[in-house]
């Protein structure tokens, strides 16, 4: 018998381009306080295990997992760190509770991107050191190349990608956490200078600082806790080959397979009809379209048209990235999936204020780990 697992607490800071007055530990401490208050728990007594996500190079510290416990209230307790997006930690926490060994698990992710003075060097260090890195190209070149291949394989046009940027930046205007909201028009987006053509400046998310903490609990534990449980109905994750020369470029196979795993657990057969709200990766505008198709929210080559028709607007048939996405909220590194999960939880609780998707009962959350990666995770939530 599968145990049911719920999200019973979320805490976060606002997301900001800079945060010079606080350290990453203080950002996490603030979010943890909010999450524990939300769940009504004491981290020193009520939590069986803690999971954090972080990458050494992005933190500028080796063996960074050693630095994760204190600010979470997790010192001298079971803790492990995953070097992947926060949705992988949600999946791991879900499984820890499924084993019956844990009743309450805390997940943490943060970004102090503004402290990284040479971010392109870090993603360049993620390239194959023998075949690719000696060429000394900016790693976002890979996004431009992937977009070019996606456009030619699916018949999507650049203007449809720009519409994603317009939608998400406008959505962010209603999100008090989002620093990159803008009343952008399609004409203004069309005039954006090329960065890694066909990718233009306005289609690339900017980084942000912030922290998110999530409290998971077994069904039994939720009965003892206050608040409004949101159930984790399915999780999935997948990695394609890292080899740029041989992997897929025109479609997000990792997202397709992650979703298949999560939908199977959730019993979802027709995601386009059963999902009321999708918070999916839009690190680059075309990625939202590519991911919509991979996640089965539409057929291949259809996503661009859906955006044009307004189907993915907040009041459309299938709202996508009502939060503003990474284009509107800023990219939070490996914490990105958790920021999107928090947005989905707010909608399912009916707490999303002016952004609220009415009647939302099932939400899809998906992450991608950025260039040059070809991996990511999916979580399906429900009430």
């Amino acid at each position: 018998m599968m145990r049911r697992v719920a999200i019973v607490g979320i805490g976060f800071t606002p997301f900001r381009p800079l945060s010079p007055e606080v350290s990453y530990r203080e950002l996490v401490y603030e979010s943890a306080q909010r999450a524990y208050h939300d769940a009504g728990i004491n981290p020193r007594e009520d939590v069986d295990s803690f999971i954090t996500v972080a990458e050494d190079y992005e933190e500028g510290t080796a063996i960074f997992d050693e630095y994760t416990p204190d600010q979470l209230g997790a010192a001298l307790r079971p803790v492990h760190t995953i070097t992947a997006d926060g949705l992988y930690a949600i999946s791991a926490g879900y499984m820890l509770i499924q084993t019956g060994q844990c009743e309450v698990v805390v997940v943490e992710g943060h970004s102090k991107a503004s402290n990284v003075l040479t971010p392109s060097y870090i993603s360049a260090l993620a390239l194959d050191p023998i075949y690719n890195r000696p060429l000394r190209f900016h790693p976002a070149c890979l996004a431009g190349m992937e977009m070019a291949r996606f456009l030619v394989e699916t018949g999507t046009v650049r203007e449809q990608c720009l519409r994603v940027a317009v939608k998400n930046r406008r959505n962010a205007l209603l999100n008090p956490l989002a620093p990159y909201g803008a009343d952008l028009t399609l004409e203004e987006a069309l005039a954006s200078p090329p960065a890694f053509a066909p990718l233009s400046e306005v289609e690339m998310s900017r980084s942000a600082d912030g922290a998110i903490v999530v409290v998971l609990a077994s069904e039994e534990a939720t009965r003892r806790l206050k608040g409004h449980p949101v159930w984790i109905r399915g999780v999935g994750w997948c990695s394609d080959s890292p080899t740029l020369e041989t992997r897929e470029w025109g479609e997000a196979v990792y997202a397709h397979l992650s979703a298949r795993m999560a939908y199977r657990l959730a019993g979802i057969r027709n995601p386009a009809r059963e999902v009321h709200l999708a918070e999916i990766d839009d690190t680059y505008a075309y990625k939202e379209l590519m991911h919509m198709e991979a996640l089965g929210l539409c057929r291949r080559g259809e996503a661009g048209r859906l955006v044009e028709e307004g189907a993915t607007e907040r009041d459309g048939l299938l709202p996508v990235n009502v939060s503003g996405g990474s284009l509107g909220m800023g990219h939070l590194g490996e914490a990105t999936g958790l920021a999107r999960l928090a947005e989905a939880v707010m909608h399912l609780r009916g707490d999303a204020e002016r952004r609220q998707v009415k009647g939302a009962q099932t939400a899809l959350v998906q992450s991608w780990r950025g260039v040059p990666s070809s991996s990511g995770a999916v979580v399906v939530l429900g009430v």
């Binding site: 392109s120 360049a124 023998i130 000696p134 060429l135 190349m145 070019a148 020369e245 470029w249």
Partner: protein, 159 residues
């Protein structure tokens, strides 16, 4: 309880600036060594074939990423192919804006499942298209050291 006070003047926000100097060597391995020796000594490209998946891996490797078979059949691949995808990069690695974009492309070598990621040269940005036939331009033999930089760039194929 959350702190009641935070710094309120940006010039009072202090930070320590550090750096991460790290140096590594990266072993080519069995497959990489053979690939780069052949490129250096003979100016030729080699791949390995998976008999089960009918895929010819360039860069070569000794196992198939699809079926996990050991790959033992080495095949020469011509130093020409087509542009599988490309970008016009208006930024260099340091984040400096470029007036004339750098052209980076994934070239599918003829008959290969993979190919080579490299720059395009002897071509204007506006002339590049997916599917365009290109060929490798190598450094002269005495300057080749056994690296991906033994290839200078790919250019439109001359007939």
């Amino acid at each position: 309880m959350l702190p009641l006070e935070k710094p309120q003047q940006v010039h009072r926000a202090l930070a320590w600036q550090g750096e991460i100097p790290t140096y590594n060597i990266y072993t080519f391995g069995i497959a990489g060594e053979r690939f780069f020796r052949e490129l250096k000594e003979h100016g030729r490209f080699l791949g390995t074939r998976c008999p089960a998946c009918h895929l010819l891996y360039v860069p070569p490797r000794i196992y198939c990423e699809r079926c996990f078979a050991s790959l033992e059949e080495w095949v020469e691949v011509p130093g020409r192919g087509t542009v599988f995808t490309f970008t016009l990069a208006y930024y260099d690695l340091d984040g400096r804006r470029l007036e004339h974009p750098d052209i980076l492309a994934l070239v599918r070598l003829e008959g290969a499942h993979g190919g080579v990621l490299h720059r395009l040269g002897e071509v204007e940005p506006g002339q590049v298209a997916i599917g365009m036939p290109v060929e490798a331009v190598l450094k002269p033999p005495q300057e080749r050291r056994g690296s991906i930089l033994d290839i200078l760039y790919f250019r439109p194929t001359r007939r």
